[in-house]
């Protein structure tokens, strides 16, 4: 007999204490977060919040139309999303996937928690002045661009995932300068616009779903370059 066919403890075995289970869960979550460098990511997100605060406090803005006015807030939102996307990279690869049955929940929890942390950090940062579009637009933009990053992580791998938010940022700035009004360019839509919100949160949900279920792509280049 091998352990492969065993699905439950032997009769009479001592069950694990509840406190021990909880501690085990916490330890598992902590180890996962550390392996994804989440503490460093949280510090960086706080840094983005501070940068936004400084930019709004001292009225940093780019002269010009709607695209130019949104550069500073949008670039901090995209930066936060890029950091979240990069946390999806895992160093363990196949062994982790083969043994970690809670991995999907950990991926989901980490991505949601970091997105919430980014929104919180930028919300605190926005107290430095008047944020264009307000909280609703900022939360929508962060969620949507993070979704782009997560999709990018699923397709290109965690280490290249930052390219998605950065590319979306450049394309959005160009589209806004050209007065493109599609809801897929949600940063240009009004804060409570339904179309923009649907697109942004749809992308976020798609990114979350892909990263949760499939994980990020293990690129050969992650280790070869």
């Amino acid at each position: 007999m091998t352990v492969a066919g065993v699905h439950q403890s032997a009769p009479g075995a001592t069950p694990a204490p509840v406190t021990g289970q909880a501690r085990g869960w916490l330890r598992l979550a902590w180890l996962y977060l550390v392996s994804r460098r989440v503490p460093a990511a949280v510090a960086l997100l706080a840094g983005f919040g501070a940068l936004l605060w400084v930019a709004l406090r001292w009225h940093w803005s780019v002269a010009g139309g709607a695209a130019a006015q949104m550069v500073i807030p949008l670039v901090t939102e995209a930066g936060a999303a890029a950091v979240i996307a990069v946390t999806t990279y895992g160093p363990f690869g196949e062994p982790e996937r083969a043994t970690g049955r809670w991995l999907p929940y950990l991926r989901l929890g980490a991505a949601v928690a970091l997105t919430a942390a980014a929104i919180g950090a930028l919300a605190i940062g926005s107290t430095g002045g008047v944020l264009p579009g307000g909280f609703a637009a900022m939360a929508r933009n962060v969620a949507g661009i993070t979704g782009v990053g997560l999709l990018c992580a699923a397709v290109l791998g965690g280490m290249l995932a930052w390219t998605g938010p950065m590319a979306y940022l450049v394309l959005t700035e160009s589209a806004l300068a050209g007065r493109v009004s599609t809801p897929w360019v949600w940063p240009g839509r009004p804060p409570l616009d339904r179309g923009g919100a649907i697109c942004a949160y749809l992308v976020f949900a798609a990114g979350l779903a892909l990263v949760t279920m499939r994980g990020v792509r293990e690129s050969v280049r992650d280790t070869a370059t």
Binding site: R37, A40, A41, L44, W60, S61, V62, A63, G64, A68, V71, I72, V75, A78, G79, A82, V83, A85, V86, T87, Y89, G158, M159, L160, W162, T163, P165, M166, A167, L169, V170, L171, E173, S174, A177, G178, R221, T223, A224, T225
Partner: protein, 506 residues
């Protein structure tokens, strides 16, 4: 025999020759294993969307089509975040993989090995930039685009790509980790955003060195009536190359980078790069905006001031109208705009006998105020000079053909009625202008708010004319054409000189 008694071997003769060959081999290995090609398709898409797509819709003049790409630095913006991010990834490679100690202990100095990786990264980035720009120029140049190309601006942005790649590489090597790539990319975009902010709001000084700064050095009639002045792009090349060299030099300063001699060389490289940056900024401080662009006395070549010769193309609007051949597509719009005004004033004292395009120039000093910016009458017999390069042409910056024609009518009438053209004009002059424009096809009610006005300030910004001006204009408009013409023949010189008041109008 012990090792201490063994004779010292002389250095093999082939060693000096082998070193460069090994370096070339190392560079080749780094080129083949570089990560930059991974993001080039993405950059190509962004470059197409952000730079080429917009430029292709602009009028067929190089200075207009390349204004967005090179003048405002969008080519560099499309590259900067991505090359900085990937270069940071390449710079952090050894430490990220935990092989830093291993490669530091090899026979080749650490800095030398890093130089090979850096060079491969920069070669990929700058090579891709040159290829993308070359393809863009070929596509934008079909079938015929007029004017000279700003080659120095192309070079400046290319060196800018190298600077962002070098800075990203140095960041990655200094602070290795998974987050250094998005941080470097973020920093690249942020730097370009701040550069744009300063570029749009500043008018001179050190800000001229920024690659996003187009004020006073890109546009107008550069490359058409006169050459693009290379002074400022040359200073920018020096500035950006200095940043690249400084970043590379900094990598060689730590103890682990190599021996004392190598580190002294790295220090010299760093100082040289920093000196180039400081010198370039100092040169920018000495810059002055001249008629043909920004002049830096220390870099200026008088040969750059020679006008570009051309044979004009002419049409007829009641008087001959001649344009630079680059503006041939707009000749019919110009004659359409001038004809209804000319028909009202032809034969009057001071009316132009011909119209000729003049160069739109950059200088905005008191002596040059208005000239080269808006149409003006001058000479004997009077000639109307038309600096079309100072007006947004149809299909550019939101302008369409009817607006272009309306703007030309307004500017011509203003040049005819207000001497000097650069002042707003008194109420009597405004009333006469309003009547001439109404008879030229712009209804009084549509003036003054609905038509573009060449002078940025003044009561024309209001939605309607003040009541006394509107009343005088309506009185003049109600007069028979022959009576009005006879009054103009008698009073146009006094009106132009500003000696008539509103009460003296019929």
């Amino acid at each position: 025999m012990t090792v201490t008694s063994a004779p010292v071997r002389s250095t093999p003769r082939q060693a000096p020759q082998a070193a460069p060959r090994n370096m070339a081999r190392l560079l080749w290995v780094e080129l083949r294993h570089n990560a930059m090609p991974l993001v080039l398709p993405l950059i190509a898409v962004i470059f197409w969307f952000d730079s080429y797509r917009i430029a292709a819709t602009l009028p067929p003049l190089w200075n207009t089509r390349l204004y967005y790409i090179l003048g405002q630095g969008h080519a560099l913006l499309d590259f900067a975040p991505f090359v900085a991010g990937v270069a940071a990834w390449m710079g952090s490679r050894d430490t990220r993989r935990g092989t830093g100690d291993l490669v530091t202990a090899t026979v080749r100095p650490r800095w030398e090995a890093q130089l090979a990786t850096w060079a491969a990264t920069v070669i990929w980035a700058v090579g891709a930039y040159l290829v993308f720009v070359a393809v863009t120029l070929v596509l934008l140049g079909r079938p015929d685009v007029w004017g000279g190309l700003p080659w120095w601006s192309v070079a400046a942005d290319g060196v800018g790509v190298a600077a962002f790649a070098s800075a990203g590489f140095a960041l990655g090597a200094s602070f290795p980790g998974r987050f250094i790539t998005p941080i470097a990319a973020f920093a690249g975009f942020f730097a370009m955003g701040i550069s744009s902010q300063i570029g749009f709001s500043a008018s001179g000084g050190w800000a001229l060195i920024l690659p996003t700064m187009s004020t006073g050095n890109f546009g107008q009639d550069a490359g058409i009536f006169y050459q693009f002045l290379p002074d400022l792009p040359m200073a920018r090349v020096m500035f950006l190359a200095g940043i690249a060299v400084t970043a590379v030099g900094l990598l060689g300063l730590p103890v682990s980078a190599g021996g004392p001699r190598l580190r002294r060389s790295a220090a010299a490289v760093t100082v040289t790069g920093a000196a180039a940056v400081v010198a370039a900024v100092a040169l920018a401080f000495t810059a002055q905006v001249g008629p043909y662009g920004t002049v830096i006395p220390a870099l200026h070549d008088a040969a750059s001031d020679r006008p570009v010769p051309y044979t004009p193309v002419c049409g007829n609007a009641g008087i001959p109208v001649c344009l630079q051949p680059a503006y041939r597509p707009y000749l019919s719009d110009v004659t359409t705009a001038l004809r209804p005004v000319i028909s009202q004033v032809t034969g009057l004292p001071g009316a132009p006998v011909r119209a000729s395009q003049s160069a739109a120039i950059f200088a905005t000093g008191a002596a040059l105020k208005g000239l080269g910016q808006i149409p003006a009458l001058g000479g004997s017999p009077p000639v109307l000079s038309l600096p079309l390069g100072a007006i947004s042409l149809p299909d550019s910056f939101g302008q369409d053909s009817p607006s272009f024609i309306s703007q030309l009518k307004v500017e011509f009438v203003h040049a005819l009625v207000v001497s000097g053209g650069a002042t707003y004009g008194n109420p009597a002059q405004q009333a006469v202008e309003a009547v001439l424009l109404q008879n030229a096809g712009i209804p009084l009610a549509a003036q003054p708010h609905a038509i573009p006005w060449p002078i940025s300030s003044g009561p024309r910004q209001t939605a309607t004319y003040p009541q006394p001006i509107a009343a005088a204009a309506q009185r003049l408009a109600a007069m028979p054409a022959t009576t009005r013409r006879a009054w103009l023949a008698a009073h146009l010189p006094a009106l132009r000189a500003g000696r008539l008041t509103l009460g003296q109008l019929p």
